[in-house]
């Protein structure tokens, strides 16, 4: 008989090793899945993980890594702050959409004015949009004790309807021949989130994501508020005695994650995507949850995890066009990753032992 024995302290070694073990296990089981779908598993895994980095067309795919990774890291950093304190914002997808609507809306309001301040105003508006959308569950939780998980998720569906509404109405391109969707911000220079170095994939969103990583690291390790976040997550009773104000923590964590998700949406709509349209959102807000856990809710870990997840997105697209691997297979692959991660986390907190015979 095997028993689990709780470790007095979580194992440091295992906490670093579990993400790697989980990735390996996902590759093995993902390979089996691809084999069932009739694809060569080695080739499929190779295409996903190798091709974007070192393949023939890597010069094209490498910048894409930054483009896809930035929103994931930006959102996941915000989510991780709350997750650490046991505050579950799972509606980042909605906050991402609202950031894009507010950001693009602010920019389009100035069209066709050419001024240096248009883009900064859009950044502020985008962050505000995301913050506003996350402030709703935060306020309701603080004031009425409403479950933030359900409220933030319900607001994703509301945001999706908002997106459809503005694409067909308020923000619709007046010169778009009746097609849904806004003006393309890529062709409005003052509002365009262009690449800072041509062909590098590096845009303001990538820079902001890196700043967010540093900010989160400093906050969690060198700041009282960060300490309170960690304390609340790890020892809620101790946090209570230490006088941590839970309301303030909820407002900060949800607000911050909303603002960062909003920024991600704004940078996306002003840059790579270019316009507000009905199918603007592609699920970054949900994938970021996987990124946050895969990165062990640690800023540097999230940076690495965001890169890996961006890799599966790009590699998945390549596998789709080259091998005919269905798009949904990549979604399953990403879902599997979270499963294995949670499962192997057992080894961080518990020791597995053969049981001795004793009276329970």
């Amino acid at each position: 008989m095997i028993v689990l024995e709780k470790r007095p302290q979580p194992s440091k070694a295992w906490s670093y090793a579990t993400p790697l073990v989980a990735v390996l296990a996902t590759m093995v089981f993902g390979g089996i899945l691809f084999a069932i779908l009739g694809k060569n598993p080695i080739q499929a895994i190779g295409t996903i993980f190798w091709e974007p980095l070192f393949g023939e067309f890597a010069f094209y795919y490498r910048p894409q890594l930054l483009v896809k990774g930035a929103p994931l890291v930006l959102i996941a950093i915000g989510l991780s702050l709350g997750f650490r304190a046991g505050i579950w914002n799972i509606g980042a997808e909605g906050q991402y959409i609202m950031g894009a609507i507010f950001g693009a809306g602010a920019g389009l309001a100035f069209y066709p004015l050419d001024a240096f301040y248009v883009f900064p105003i859009m950044v502020i508006a985008g962050a505000f949009g995301g913050w506003l959308w996350a402030a709703i569950p935060a306020f309701l939780k603080v004031r009425f004790g409403t479950n933030e998980i359900l409220v933030s998720l319900m607001l994703v569906y509301v945001a999706e309807q908002m997106l459809a509404s503005v694409s067909l109405g308020l923000l619709k391109n007046p010169e778009g021949f009746g097609f849904p969707g806004s003006r393309n911000l890529q062709s409005y220079e003052s509002a365009h989130n262009a690449e800072l170095i041509a062909g590098s994939g590096m845009h303001w969103g990538v820079v902001t994501a890196l700043i967010a990583v540093i900010f989160a690291y400093v906050l969690l390790n060198r700041h009282m508020l960060g300490f309170h976040i960690r304390l609340t997550g790890e020892a809620p009773r101790a946090a209570k005695f230490a006088g941590v104000n839970p309301a303030r923590l909820i407002l900060f964590c949800l607000g911050m994650s909303g603002a960062l998700a909003g920024l991600a949406g704004m940078f996306e709509v002003a840059g790579p995507s270019g316009q507000v349209s009905i199918d603007f959102n592609v699920g970054y807000g949900f994938t970021a949850i996987i990124v946050a856990f895969l990165g062990r809710l640690h800023p540097v870990g999230i940076l690495l995890a965001g890169g890996l997840m961006a890799l599966t997105y790009i590699g998945g697209e390549i596998a789709q066009s080259q091998l005919g691997l269905p798009a949904a297979a990549i979604q399953v692959f990403q879902g599997m990753l979270l499963f294995f991660l949670l499962a192997f986390d057992l080894l961080t907190n518990y020791r597995i032992r053969a049981a001795r015979n004793e009276v329970a």
Binding site: K6, L150, M154, G335
Partner: protein
Amino acid sequence: MDLGEINPVLLVASLMVAATPLLLAAIGELVVEKAGVLNLGVEGMMIVGAISGFAISVETGSPWLGFIAAAIGGAVLSLLFVLLTQFALANQVASGLALTLFGLGFSALMGQSYVGVKPPSMGDIHIPLLSDIPVIGPILFQHDPILYLGIALVAAVWATLKYTRVGLILRAVGENHDAAHALGYKVIKIRILAILFGGACAGLGGAYISLIRVPQWTEGMTAGVGWIALALVVFASWKPWRALLGAYLFGGITVLQLNLQAAGVAIPVEYLAMSPYIITILVLVILSADKSSAPASLGRTFHASH
């Protein structure tokens, strides 16, 4: 705009159909939460049930086999939740999210060849005499069998929780797992059974959407019903009959907004479509003041280390 086109009898009858997937998923989750487990993977189990049921009934031509497959599909997915939370002792919130993300992807993968296919129809039961009563007949006595199964399930869960030993043990495990363990009840075993029951119910609810309510397969077709079912359990204060009431309330809102869309009311379609979600939030706000009826061990991991 022509509100006169909305037929009240049809409206109430279709309300019951719209409410059934919610009801099935919610009654399953209610049992799971009564056992002290918070499974946020309802949406994932529903969508997997939806495609399992759809695929099997298309392949075999029997909607009944489809529903059985849906229940099995939902339960199998919930087995993954069991492995994570009961054996690997993982966080229940994160595990539930994993279940939903995985289920959405997995169902999309399985359903690729079923887009645009029409499933076999189940047909309604016409209860003799009763179904001929004007107004009440079409509303209450001319539905498909699964709808009645849903109502029967509510009654069964209510009676089991209230009057039987099994129900008492289940509640004990949910209220205080350490005490239940000390009394010699197998906490983990009871919770596993509850989770599997919840998975099967969610699977049935999902198949009800893909086989009867819509009936066709589209990716992500559950569109948040699983999450609303979770809210419904809170709304119901963990009481079965109130879950039935709540499901009909939400079903009514959904049907009404669809009818208003069709009737061409001056409110934009998008605002009508978001109304069920907003009303869910409002209901949660109104009811969240009273948390006293929640099972005390809800969401806490049990490990018999002492």
